[in-house]
Amino acid sequence: MEEALTSLMKTRMRRGVIIDGLFYHGTRIFAWAVLTVMVAILVSLFMGAAPAIGKFGFGFLVSPAWNPVTKDFGAFVSIYGTLVTSVIAMVIGVPVSFGIALFITELSPRWLKRPIGIAIELLAAIPSIIYGMWGLFVFAPFFGDHMEPWISGFLGPVPLVGVLFSGPPLGIGLLTAGIVLAIMVIPFMSSVMRDMFEAVPPLLKESAYGMGATTWEVVRHAVLPYTRTGVVGSIMLGLGRALGETMAVTFVIGNANRVHASLFMPGNTISSSLANQFTEAVGEMYTSSLIALGLILFLITFVVLAVAKLMLRRLSDTRGSRS
């Protein structure tokens, strides 16, 4: 009897050890799969872009050409459009996100915090293509009819800056794309900033209030210094999103392969070029140049997001929430 029991226990234990091993290695394989996906994306983009890189070299980055007929391609216009629209999105989005985070953490009555937080997060959940349709059919006509003439009347005569805001008010173009991008990244940035602000120890804030500081002074001199890296990290995160955003921009950017001084004029971003042309591209060089654009976008966003991640992580390390 006893012998049977011990042998039963032994087989059970042995089975447990075997399944444990399988389970451990099974989960480990999939953890490695995450890394493999990243490496595979990089390798496949490099391989796809190789013909274009081989033909154009580093000149690809600065050449404004984009001619499928003569097979002469360059990334400059798309890179310019990507950077300009993202910068516009940041100029509008950062102060607004900061204001929203400030409102939720310092001003809002307790019962209003959650509804506003959820509403802002819902804004992030709406798919990009919806922003695009709304941008093209509702926002762009409104913006072209009512805002752009006013902006160019106001800022147009200003030296240096004026040239950015002159030209025909078309509605669609770099500025509109930048504004739509701003709306799309505000939820990401403001919710990360809110989490940062909420993690500031109450003691720190209370001591500042105790010294007679106003709410703004508390934020400026206690909350912001404490969360500086996190705030920069959240901005980089928003920037990473803005750089790669595709469908919304594709609708409102105007799809024109030219660099204009004016922000009112249509342009192209890397992602909108891909969305518009990839399925129609004929010939190896055309496809390869588009993939090279994709590679450039991936490398830029990789660096931006890596910086964002490092800054956000350092913060959470000092807070000890990683353990």
């Binding site: 234990m13 447990g16 399944i19 399988l22 989960t27 480990r28 394989i29 999939f30 953890a31 490695w32 799969a33 995450v34 890394l35 990243m38 994306i41 496949s44 391989m47 607004v96 204001g99 929203i100 409102f103 001003l107 506003i116 509403a119 997060e121 819902l122 804004l123 959940a125 709406i126 798919p127 990009s128 293509i129 919806i130 922003y131 695009g132 349709m133 709304w134 059919f137 509702v138 990360v192 106003t214 703004w216 002074e217 995160l237 990473g240 999103r241 790669g244 955003e245 595709t246 469908m247 992602s271 891909l274 969305a275 990839f278 993939i291 991936f298 966003t301 990789f302 997001l305 964002a308």
Partner: protein, 286 residues
């Protein structure tokens, strides 16, 4: 004199504080304005075209009558396939990070890469799948589309699973182990059960995220005018149909696009609200 100057300084500080707090309220209203405007646009433009034939009939040729039925079914198929491929893989990877390798270097690297994948431009995933699957197979297909979606699901589920498993207290694990349960049984029967709602939340959020994704489907699943049954050929899906119809010059196509846009947005918002009300939403991260 001194006191007067102090009063002036005090008033100055109060004024600045007041201005900035006003600006903060205004930015919040500014942020919420877009949500209202977007929803209003969708309701006013899409609601009138929502009817049964939109749900049941296939996409029409220009000028013909029809609906979005095949696209809706296609989207469901792609989403389910994407989640079925991506979610188990993500859960296993998340389990490894939380249960077996919490402090190790490799786990730190995987977390880092996973967070970058989480925010990587989805159109790049489309290009990647195009190169790896579409070019190899020689044609666009539903499989390629669902692979692209699975690559979006993967990092979301890895992150939420790890976060949620970490919340399960160690004493539960130790209690189970003390009863003689092997490691896998501790994980599956105790830890997973404790974190069930959290993991489910992650998967539902991933569903919400991919059901509106357009960019990665453009070069993978493509589109199909008919009721497509097989994942082995191009398959109709709501986002790409909306894109195509919205950009078309035909009125009835545009009407269908608005109806589809309303449908997608309502579904996604509903999923998000349900998750937030009934389950535990994960901390915001990338």
């Amino acid at each position: 004199m001194e006191a007067l100057r102090d009063m002036g300084l005090y008033r100055h500080r109060r004024a600045i504080n007041f201005l900035i707090l006003c600006a903060s309220v205004l930015t919040t209203l500014f942020g919420l304005l877009w949500l209202v405007w977007l929803l209003w646009t969708l309701l006013s433009r899409g609601f009138q075209y929502l009817n049964l034939s939109v749900l049941l009939e296939a996409t029409p040729p220009p000028g013909g009558s029809g609906g979005l039925g095949n696209a809706i079914v296609g989207s469901l198929v792609l989403t389910v396939a994407g989640v079925l491929i991506g979610a188990p893989a993500g859960m296993l990877a998340g389990t490894y990070l939380s249960e077996f390798a919490r402090q190790s270097k490799i786990a730190a690297v995987v977390r880092f890469i996973n967070d970058i994948l989480l925010s990587a431009p989805s159109i790049i995933l489309g290009v990647f799948v195009y190169e790896v699957i579409v070019v190899r197979m020689g044609h666009f297909s539903g499989w390629a589309g669902s692979m692209a979606l699975a690559l979006i699901v993967l990092p979301i589920v890895v992150w939420t699973t790890e976060d949620m498993l970490r919340l399960v207290s160690n004493s539960l694990r130790e209690a189970a182990a003390a009863l003689g349960a092997p490691r896998w049984k501790v994980t599956v029967a105790i830890v997973f059960r404790g974190a069930r709602n959290g993991i489910l939340t992650g998967i539902l959020l991933a569903v919400a995220r991919i059901s509106g994704e357009t960019a990665p489907l453009l070069f993978t699943a493509l589109n199909n005018q008919f009721w497509s049954r097989s994942l082995n050929e191009p398959i109709a899906n709501l986002p790409v149909v909306i894109f195509q119809f919205a950009m078309s010059p035909y009125d009835d196509w545009q009407h269908l696009a608005w109806a589809g846009a309303l449908l997608i947005t309502l579904t996604i918002l509903l999923l998000n609200i349900l998750v937030r009300v009934f389950l535990k939403a994960p901390k915001s991260r990338f």
